[in-house]
Subunit: 192 residues, 2 copies
Amino acid sequence: MQDKLFDFISKYISLSDDEKSTLLSLDIFHSVKKGTTLLKEGQNSKESYFVLKGCIRTYYIIDGEEKTTAFYTEMDALTPHCVLSKAPSEYFISCVEDSFLTVSNSDMEVEINSKFPKFEIMCRKLSEELLAKERFNFDEFKTSSPEQRYLNLLQKRPDLIQRVPQHQLASYLGIKPQSLSRLRARILEKKS
Amino acid sequence: MQDKLFDFISKYISLSDDEKSTLLSLDIFHSVKKGTTLLKEGQNSKESYFVLKGCIRTYYIIDGEEKTTAFYTEMDALTPHCVLSKAPSEYFISCVEDSFLTVSNSDMEVEINSKFPKFEIMCRKLSEELLAKERFNFDEFKTSSPEQRYLNLLQKRPDLIQRVPQHQLASYLGIKPQSLSRLRARILEKKS
DNA sequence: ATAATCCGTTCACTTAAGTTAAGAAATGCG
DNA sequence: CGCATTTCTTAACTTAAGTGAACGGATTAT
């Protein structure tokens, strides 16, 4: 499973065996059970996550209702907003499935980055790439209707629709669960 | 005006006078007239922008209609998706107002980053911060109605509503211009 | 095993956004 | 300056999402 991490890293920089073992010595690999809450609203966490297997989600509680805004699956990285802002978290992070993650601390990252400048380079490339992707996804969201967004998701992340509860998917698509149900029924009708 | 750039940079790293003059020698400062198109769909650009004064926007043309998805104003940085993906651009970038920008080339950035590791650090910090912000904005968008999004914009970027045409604002809010007009009339009614 | 809770779907009704069209106001250009 | 184009608003109508409620089916807890 560690190799998955190294495969991912190799897309950005090349690591020596020495550097690899330094990474492994940090004890960042963790197995997390479905339903576990990794971060709560109001907490001041310094932890970042990288999903090797499984799925985690971020959600807000607004007027007592859960609003899921993002899913992170295999090879997705998440540094919560509160880690950078050093302010209490506005949202929760929880485990959608039994998952295998790397969990790293921002102090630890600062240390590694200063020891291995390579690492700094990887982080820059990765966050630049993720920023561009995030902007693109946001653009797509803005320019399409709920139905188009659902069809788009069906194309791009068909796995999500299988592995995630409908009501979480609904808020991810920016609508209510009932609307998602109706929308799906409408699509099925059209096909026939 | 250059000082504005250095003030911005100083939030992330400290530059020596030597480094400052190296930066200035690169001839990255440009004045751009309102209406100028900086990037066209299909182009393979390597240029990134930083807005010192003015406003630029990204927009798509979908079914012959302009869809504005983002505005970049004072102290905003934009590296277009196509620069990183090295694929033709999916969108246009144009100048909303007469503006003063820095325009930098990705080859130039690679060179600077290798000469000044400090710069690499700044880029990492900046893109991490922007990524967190972008995700937060996306979350807000998903979890609110068009009316809430407009009211939120009124709070957070009141200047935009003044300086940008309504029909561009509308698609930025994910709705049609007619709906924005109606929505504003509705809000005015409520207030009275 | 049974009760309780949660989840997804359906329905009827309300509300708001999309669509089409028309006209007024502002802007740009010859 | 006046004409043309673009932009903004309004209106009537259509379509889709929000709301509240009810129903089975599944999952969880007791």
